[in-house]
Symmetry: C2
Subunit: 768 residues, 2 copies
Amino acid sequence: MNLDYIIPNDWSILEEGFDPKHVKASESIFSIGNGAMGQRANFEERYSGPTFQGSYIAGVYYPDKTRVGWWKNGYPEYFAKVLNAPNWIGIDVFINDEALDLYKCKKVEHFKRELNMKEGWLSRYFIATLQNDTKVEVSVKRFLSLDMDELGAINYSIKPLNSNATITYRPYIDSGITNEDTNWDDKFWDTLSVSHQDNQAFIQAKTMKTDFYTCTFMQSQVFVNDGLVAIEPDTSSDSNSVSFGYTHNVKEGESYSIHKFGGYTVDRNHDKYELVTAAKSVLNKAVKEGFNTLLENQKTAWSKIWEMADITIDGDVKAQQGIRFNIFQLNQTYLGKDARLNIGPKGFTGEKYGGSTYWDTEAYCIPFYMATKDQSVARNLLEYRYNHLEKAIENAEKLGFSNGAALYPMVTMNGEECHNEWEITFEEIHRNGAIAFAIFNYHRYTGDYSYIPEKGLEVLIGIARFWHQRATFSRDKNKYVILGVTGPNEYENNVNNNWYTNYIAQWCINYALENINTVENQYATDYTRIMNKAKLSKAEMQEWKTVADGMYFPYSEEKEVYLQQDGFLDKELITVADLEKSQRPINQKWSWDRILRSPYIKQADTLQGFYFFEDHFTTEELERHFDFYEPFTVHESSLSPCVHSIQAAKLNRMDQAYTFYLRTSRLDLDDYNHEVHEGLHITSMAGTWMSIVEGFGGMRIKEGKLSFEPRIPEQWNAYSFKVNFRHQILKVNVCKGHTHFELEGDQDLHIVVNGEDVTISPNNLVTV
Amino acid sequence: MNLDYIIPNDWSILEEGFDPKHVKASESIFSIGNGAMGQRANFEERYSGPTFQGSYIAGVYYPDKTRVGWWKNGYPEYFAKVLNAPNWIGIDVFINDEALDLYKCKKVEHFKRELNMKEGWLSRYFIATLQNDTKVEVSVKRFLSLDMDELGAINYSIKPLNSNATITYRPYIDSGITNEDTNWDDKFWDTLSVSHQDNQAFIQAKTMKTDFYTCTFMQSQVFVNDGLVAIEPDTSSDSNSVSFGYTHNVKEGESYSIHKFGGYTVDRNHDKYELVTAAKSVLNKAVKEGFNTLLENQKTAWSKIWEMADITIDGDVKAQQGIRFNIFQLNQTYLGKDARLNIGPKGFTGEKYGGSTYWDTEAYCIPFYMATKDQSVARNLLEYRYNHLEKAIENAEKLGFSNGAALYPMVTMNGEECHNEWEITFEEIHRNGAIAFAIFNYHRYTGDYSYIPEKGLEVLIGIARFWHQRATFSRDKNKYVILGVTGPNEYENNVNNNWYTNYIAQWCINYALENINTVENQYATDYTRIMNKAKLSKAEMQEWKTVADGMYFPYSEEKEVYLQQDGFLDKELITVADLEKSQRPINQKWSWDRILRSPYIKQADTLQGFYFFEDHFTTEELERHFDFYEPFTVHESSLSPCVHSIQAAKLNRMDQAYTFYLRTSRLDLDDYNHEVHEGLHITSMAGTWMSIVEGFGGMRIKEGKLSFEPRIPEQWNAYSFKVNFRHQILKVNVCKGHTHFELEGDQDLHIVVNGEDVTISPNNLVTV
């Protein structure tokens, strides 16, 4: 653990005391979002200390020109950047003509920051003594509305404590912003118009190249002691900003507040010529409702999310805070309303990685959204890939594949590849497997087969074709091999026969063939349509099968384990425990070649296969592989601890499972990887959810039934979670020695608990 | 072959007819240099068509900030760029107020360009009709003086053919130049002063960051019908240029000429405050001698070089032109006078690759310089690496090595690594082997052991330590392995147990141990000094030996060949002959992953080992390996055909040897690799020399004696070459059926011809 200043609390993230060294980390941790937009927890007033300003709009990106040292054929022309959007939260504050700036105050006392996850708001409180000796008490509350997802609201309030004070609020909007992360210092935004009328202001701006049209807007009201006052603003504007000055002579002990409403309207949701009109309508509604009503609505909206998504942990505040933080951030990032959007690894909390969609969505996020939302959300996530199938085929063509073979991009915003390290882009092809697996997983969980004949099968065919073409025949081994890949463990590059990749390749082909057969027999119309489109012959399918049946898997007879890749046993097999602490994290201490030739594993690789395909192996096999690989695993990927927590729980190693659970759930709160200032690890947060539900809860789907093998860490008294399974909601409450099940719905649910069939009737507590 | 416009000629490179599409290629091919500076064959007058302007000063580079997509620990901060230096050749020409510009003329007739290799000059001739209908005959001759290597001279002459004409020559110098190749569009030069006096002009400029101080200078004289005329120049200057205008009303049929002298003085050779003084002294001497005398001196200087270095081929003009072009360009690039300089892969003909020193120097260039110059030149090249030993140790430390292990950089200007692809910089470690091999080769050829106790042994110890630490023990194989490397064949990355690397690693350790022993026994003082410095114990040496003795070499029992690396036989072994032509060159047609998983070999890899260590293997073994690997070799490295030509000759496959010879010798003249416009392949030109001397001539050193197995391609009547062997010069003239040997020197030379001992007495033609 690298940082330890977040105060444990069941429902809130709390920071007390002002430390400029924590500002960037807290800007990440206290980020807020509503699925449509999000922002780092930057201060409203100017701050001259180290800060990382970021406000992001879902789906708005910039295709930054790729930067590489040495160009390789097939690299994408651009790297999609998450774009810092125009600022609407800014409020310059002047107190007796001195700008309020926490970095420059004489004294800052009683500083407290709270991210209230239950109600969905962020607040700040402090007493500051300015250089001019004016002492003020400041309270700020801010939220991004879930109900009106183009709107955010701020209540900023100041009370002079030691004298009367002339206070000016100068709320502004500003499109003259920059990105932290840019390859060529390009300008990303083109401001089209700046306008204002009465107390409303609007900036229309479009992104360069991608031409996303946006309108950033604001309107404010000021209050003295909670009474609305009409102050004619002093308006100032230039080519990319507008501000309104509201000045008032405030008496000592009196409070002077501003309610600022702001946000974005975007052309994904409106005609690009109607963005100002749409913005006016949002502002008019917001002002009419007022800050307090909007805040009440916010609490209600979040309570609905928590009603379904909450996980309680009794007896371990840090663990409780961790899981709620993870669930909260996931819901802030993606709510599943729009199939055009996806789940970026940093959500709305930073710019790193760029792009929005990695295999993380399919491998880690879908189970969470499937179980805590309506199943249409998971289906939206699947359709996102279906909609990108043509581009995945084009992407494969660039790399020399043909005949409809599809290679989904490693990183994308719009279906095109936008990453450019050859060892990742060209070689980390296992991502294709996760995309097929998600289709299988969706059907397994929801029982909804209709997606496959309607859309999924075309994706499965494109993926099967890719694997068929990508495998080559080794005369030496008399088997099909897959050469030159990077597996999930990115601390190996260009290896041959990565077991995970070969295994999922074989599975993809077999799964595609199985579904072609099912669709042929049961969905004749879809079958004809798909076959006409894909021009797939029986002969080609036979070729697929030859490859799948002849696939090679590296195996050690001596160790009785599958080998992560050819030659793994040639390494110096020194475990992480025997590696000096000073050498870690190896990705910060070692040169790349040294990492590559070491045995150290960044995240589950062979074990990822055992996670996906658990029922293909015995528990003894899982144990043998876990014991072989985990000791070499450095968990320097945020996606690593969750899988290991689930498998440790399955193996009944509760201490280990608990340690991994803490690491995954508090990864950002405690900054395990020394990088929280860059943003949060959003996608791995779904892994945290899995480590409770699938790990401790032991939830699986077996033959269409929910199955549980509940376990509980020694440190906890009880924990509970809910899953939405095929339109019924089951609450599971695991205590020491027994588990309660409670069902919302209208018909019995047959589940399996520790191998025994159990029937749960609606609204009837069942204890096992 | 991609281009076919160079006219075959024994001694000259000739182009006839003006084609703007050939301008960039010709700018490369007709490049001139004198070891201290060099330049592309840019026109003196302005040219508005596509052109690549380049003038380069030996040892003057810029550490351009590295550009990579994704930073890896251990990457160098900078990439050394060969710098385009201030222009001194420029002469703006105005004819009746119209600028002469070949791209804009109404008509260009009788255009002819000649690079006279025998005499070392470049000329141009053409008749141009301008837009204003003035028709002029233009003759230009230019050379860079070998005798005065800071000086170049131009004779530019115009004769109006259809009317009188007012002609202005405006010679200039200009430091406001840019590089073709820059990562961040940085400015590379800082102009310090611009001055002129009478007809002389000077620009002092220094490179940014590296602070190389230079003075660019010029002085001109004008002539009418060869009679010097005194014209007061019209001078113009700004912050980074000076020009002098010389205008004359020239009668129809009269010739108006300018002799321009220019060049660079640099702080490698002068005090940085004395550069203008030094430049004046060069100019005064040049003007005093005059263009014609300087040109005569140039012919004499080149005749001395050719006296020793020439290779004649009778009966095959293209082959003759090819080898002379190669020898000429090598001598233009590096003359061996300065141990601070080295041989850049593009010499002074382009910017690509940056840096000056690759393993090319040791693996390809040293034999040429050793045999055609005094042996002190080769020793200078060895000392270059000795002088960089400390930096090679630092470089190894950055990658996690210790205790004096040295890893020489892949690319360098000053001993620091300046390349930044992990798969090259961190993994292409075989370069260390070539550096040790060059020491062995120097001793083998020259018989001069003194270099080893004086300097070489320290290098050998640093290199042996590296290999000892870089190899790891595989329990699985019960052998030492070298994991994660890139061999000479750069179409494989991060492979395990590259045979060439493992073999040369073992050899390096054994060779170091052998020499430690020799120095201990025969050079006690040096031994003590070196051991004190290196702190090398017997125990450490024993550890080296354990690694060398236990080294693993991948081998196929079935094919009876060493495998290029582990797993090579898993590839789809489709030969190049069976690969569609449309797919080649694969480095332009295929994505990197596809290249990597293919069996295709960029240049000799296993065979490079058979070349270096030919006497470790039988001819049958060589043949088996040649037959196995050559069919998969695409020769997309300039360094590939020469080695294969030598080995094909050794195997008596003369047709193949001849084809490879043409490919290596005319690589740039015929633009085999579609890239001559970027510059010439200088280092591989030494390989061309080897393919005649070692290939057809079969020259080897065996037990301290020169040995020959002369062969001759069917297409040739005879060929001859000379070698400087241990201070004696042997001329070898191979005819069909017999070979003549002639010796300059004062004592008998015992050689071996086709396995038989032969004694050659001085100045006595011996025919075998």
